[in-house]
Symmetry: C2
Subunit: 332 residues, 2 copies
């Protein structure tokens, strides 16, 4: 049986903000499986900020995508054909199968998931890479003690929402930064943060000051730019900053840190990290996170766009902060 | 016997660059010693960049100096009177006695020194606080492996000169950044760095690129500003940046980091530190450094201004990069 595979390619590198012109949807029949391979019907595609970086032709932690390559991305789906002894038709998996209908794999980097108790989409979010990112940065870099204050930007997002909830579970004061009153209400009322500052309200520095009366001991940075500047100015001595994302600068000119001397005066630790370089810790992280989801101690929200062809808009919206919770594309 | 003590006070807080108007020289007779005290005739005063920060009324790692207080500073000198059982007349010591002729102490923080084999001035430089600063940042933060590249700004200065020499002794490529051809020649020819980039030559980014063909693994930052930006752009994955000074921003407006996203893309560790918070390591550091001086494996240069009354000019010159080697004031 020959399957037709739709896939979205990187058609051109964005100059500044991403537009639909950077992408091209095409379709082609799939080759038959070779021995040792299996095929996955992608059901959900995860849309994440790191994708923006990979569209540039710049020195970074990963090689840039080549023009004409399928856009990178993690998916969750069903095994629909298999010539691999460890993967059977009907298995549920996640893997880096990209922006397309089907993935073909020899099993490397593919994770089997159990969607009978935790929904499949959670394995792309709270119990997947974004969750592991939050867990790593909070526990391995910030390592907060009870009573300390942790600030996280993009607080309603897939990573930020987990950071704050884990900080609360660790006995900390959790303060979010998010865009808009609705997101901030969600962060406080539904996720249980102690406070959330709306950076769109135009008073970020003062509002963050009010929300962090004892200063800030840990900062989980997803955004950079003004959010980071404001948090820096509130840091306590020996504070830790886990640098996970600089989304503010992804779409064009780099955004400076205005007062780096605070790193010195407050003797801060600033550590950039990429969670996929710490795979040895994923079993611990993902086990903990899935258990917390089951126990209803970790809440999350999905923001689902229907149809592979809408994946470009989903990424563009994410980079503009339009998503609310984990951004996903439902492929099938 | 009543001694007359000259002392230099902080008369006003500088707006921007320091000028002589910030200081006031006055003299007053000294009180008699109390039981348990001793008196030191200060012979040399160390002039260091941190002094600039203490002149501001800003949140920092140390309380600001109050107006009318004696300027802070470390001195080396002779005990000339004593009612303290552990300090005898004739002992040589260093201590935080400030910009004045005499210090009075109960012994807290005072270190006895042996100037028979290592000159007294070295205990204010290579075998003192600046040396310990270099030792700590290089060994405890950068922790370079043989074959790696270490860049240090203000490379001809009291701290930077030790950083590069210790890096060479550790089997690294040592690259300095300094201002002017003469300083750069000194750094390479006399201190033994592999290369030194003259930031005044107007081609810092390209020159640093040429001097670091394998990228940069460790950065010891004394300056900030353009030197840091240029070094950041050369960092290798998992590089370490020890933030020791931000002298570029001491004298006025903060100097931004232009491309902080490199912290993320290269997964850098950036750590601010103050060496006086790691006193437990000083015996190890100072012992090592004094031994290296004795063995002629560590070279240094003093830049001595004669007369306490010239201390303000010495600090102003240091902040403008006019010194060459460790800046000292000979008081007597």
């Amino acid at each position: 049986m020959t399957r037709i595979n739709r896939r979205i390619l990187l058609a051109s590198r964005p100059e500044g903000a991403v537009t639909p012109a950077s992408f091209k949807l095409e379709q082609a029949p799939l080759d038959a499986l070779a021995e040792g391979q299996f095929r996955v019907r992608n059901l959900y595609l995860s849309i994440d900020p790191y994708m923006r970086g990979r569209m540039n032709d710049a020195k970074s932690y990963a090689a840039p995508l080549a023009l004409g390559e399928v856009m990178i991305g993690e998916t969750a789906g069903d095994v629909v054909e298999s010539k691999h002894r460890d993967f059977a038709v009907g298995d549920k998996v996640t893997g880096m199968f990209g922006w397309q209908d089907y993935g073909t794999s020899d099993g490397a980097g593919v994770r089997k998931i159990d969607d009978t108790r935790v929904p499949m989409t959670a394995y792309l979010g709270v119990a997947g890479m974004p969750g592991a990112t939050a867990w790593y940065g909070l526990n391995k870099i910030i390592a907060p003690r009870p009573g300390q204050t942790v600030v996280v930007s993009a607080a309603s997002g897939a990573v930020g929402s987990v950071v704050g909830q884990l900080a609360k579970l660790a006995g900390c004061r959790a303060v979010g930064i998010a865009g808009g009153e609705q997101k901030c209400r969600y962060v406080v009322d539904e996720l249980g943060f102690d406070a959330c500052v709306d950076y769109k309200a135009g008073n970020l520095h003062q509002d963050l000051k009010n929300a962090t009366p004892d200063g800030v001991d840990g900062c989980f940075e997803n955004v950079g730019g003004e959010a980071l500047d404001a948090t820096l100015s509130r840091m306590n001595p020996f504070g830790r900053i886990a640098v996970c994302g600089m989304i503010a600068g992804y779409d064009g000119q780099p955004v400076p840190i205005k007062q780096p001397s605070i790193i010195l005066t407050m003797r801060l630790l600033v550590q950039g990290f990429i969670v996929t370089e710490h795979l040895d810790l994923w079993p611990e992280a993902l086990g903990t996170l899935a258990a917390l989801v089951l126990e209803k101690k970790l809440r999350y929200r999905d923001s689902v766009v229907d149809g592979l062809e809408h994946a470009p808009e989903a990424l563009i919206g994410l980079l503009q902060g339009k998503n609310f919770g984990k951004q996903l594309v439902k492929i099938a």
